[in-house]
Symmetry: C2
């Protein structure tokens, strides 16, 4: 049996009671560790679970999936994912492979930013397509997410912007040289995302239609959703470039049309409470 177990938003105790029971009884436990991060470390998790965990990076999941599902016909294997197992990314490929081998699987769901973002007071119903904002480099400034934000705004929908995470990435130089040396993890802040959006707003005249973003458009910045030190700040896009929300993970919402209850709700966060 292959169990996909969501760990929720980051703290060790965010796992469900059922999930914890399964982790304790499984023969092998993998932790997917490249699409999101835990606010606690692997060691803290191992202590809490009272067992060893194998870190599964992108290479292992995408290229050595066989290793993960090996013997899962007879053994119990847990694949832990921060958030919901099928939340912000998909592990449907792993399900397909298991299914082809006749290995049954079960899913233990949990919260992910995709539903927890409703803590802002914005209704999940009214969100359109979710976008990802990637780190820009000097030579690479993709902005296709901006078109999607405008498309959502045109329909009146809010846009959840997931901000880039770089875990175990190689520098261009090391990549070219084939050196498996990895950069320290990086997490985009809402201030960095706002900077990039401001750059588009100020320079991009080619995007037509939709309801354009402006420097004074309202955005909702969130950090460490669900944690004790969670932060939510409602401010203008320009102000957001100056807001320091502290440690990772950060996300940002660009509201569409606001119901008056939604308006009241996000106003609660405008005084940085």
């Amino acid at each position: 049996m292959l169990y996909f177990i969501g760990l929720g938003l980051g703290d060790a105790k965010d796992i469900t009671v059922r999930g914890l029971e399964l982790v304790k009884q499984c023969d092998r436990v993998y932790l997917e560790h490249y699409t999101s991060i835990l606010t606690c470390g692997k060691e803290e998790l191992e202590k809490f679970y009272q067992r060893d965990i194998i870190l599964a990076d992108r290479e292992m999941v995408e290229q050595n999936a066989e290793e993960i599902i090996a013997n899962a016909e007879t053994q119990e294997v847990a694949f832990l994912v921060v958030g919901d197992p099928f939340g912000a990314t998909t592990h449907a490929d792993l399900v397909l492979r298991a299914k082809e081998k006749g290995i049954p699987h079960k899913v233990v769901h949990n919260a992910s930013i995709m539903n927890a973002i409703a803590c802002t007071g914005l209704q999940l119903y009214n969100f359109g397509e979710t976008v990802s904002i990637p780190f820009w480099t000097d030579n690479w400034k993709p902005d296709s997410f901006y078109g999607k934000i405008l498309k959502n705004r045109e329909c009146g929908y809010h846009t959840l912007c997931l901000l880039d995470i770089k875990v175990k990435e190689q520098s261009e130089e090391n990549l070219i040289k084939g050196k498996k040396i990895y950069e320290p993890p990086r997490f985009m802040t809402t201030a960095q995302a706002a900077e990039q959006l401001m750059h588009i707003v100020e320079n991009n005249e080619k995007v037509e239609g939709g309801i354009q973003l402006r420097a004074d458009s309202i955005v909702v910045c969130v950090a460490r959703v669900g944690a004790d030190d969670q932060k939510i700040v409602t401010c203008t896009l320009k102000q957001a470039t100056q807001e320091d929300l502290g440690g990772p993970l950060h996300s940002m919402v660009i509201p569409g049309e606001l119901h008056y209850l939604e308006k009241d709700a996000i106003d609660m966060w405008s005084n940085k409470s």
Copy 2:
């Protein structure tokens, strides 16, 4: 302190470890009990939590919210919600009231159908606005959800259809007479939802534009997501009227444009596995 605690998808053990700790330590525990349902009963929950729970129906939450937050300045009060506290519905109003009284609140997030639906293999990224399909009566056949489905399809988005739940509803007769006699709970099945959609597809010629649904359009029906006896069936809309997925809760997805990985994934469920 007012704690909003998500219970996840329905089993007692779907609560998070942190949520369970809080439930055990709170002075009063309310269970919101009208927007979704538990697959387990109140008694089972009380046994598992080893404490009493107060059922909070719509009347209490909407009209007697003061009772729930009473003394929460000094006491610890838990407000339990099936799914995520801010998932398919909003309790932002309760947050606002607490905030006005200077009562702090914390949220313990959990899975809800809004993110768990990704277990179908359809990417959450690609979902548009969520719709609710209400029970039709002889005289009342609202179909505004259909326009939203078409709008999503036009954009290539999938549509999650939440199906009606009638908990503690009065019959028209009892409502008029002012009798507080309540009908037994009812939960719309995917077959009933498909029936209503087929009725629109066959009769509704007034809706223009969008990519119309047809009898042979593919839909994905789900039941009891996250439970051991979860069911997912991919079939045509017409076939869906004949599919019996068993007990509640049911939901349905109307796919938009399918990425080939999404296509492979939903095909897995076409043999009723």
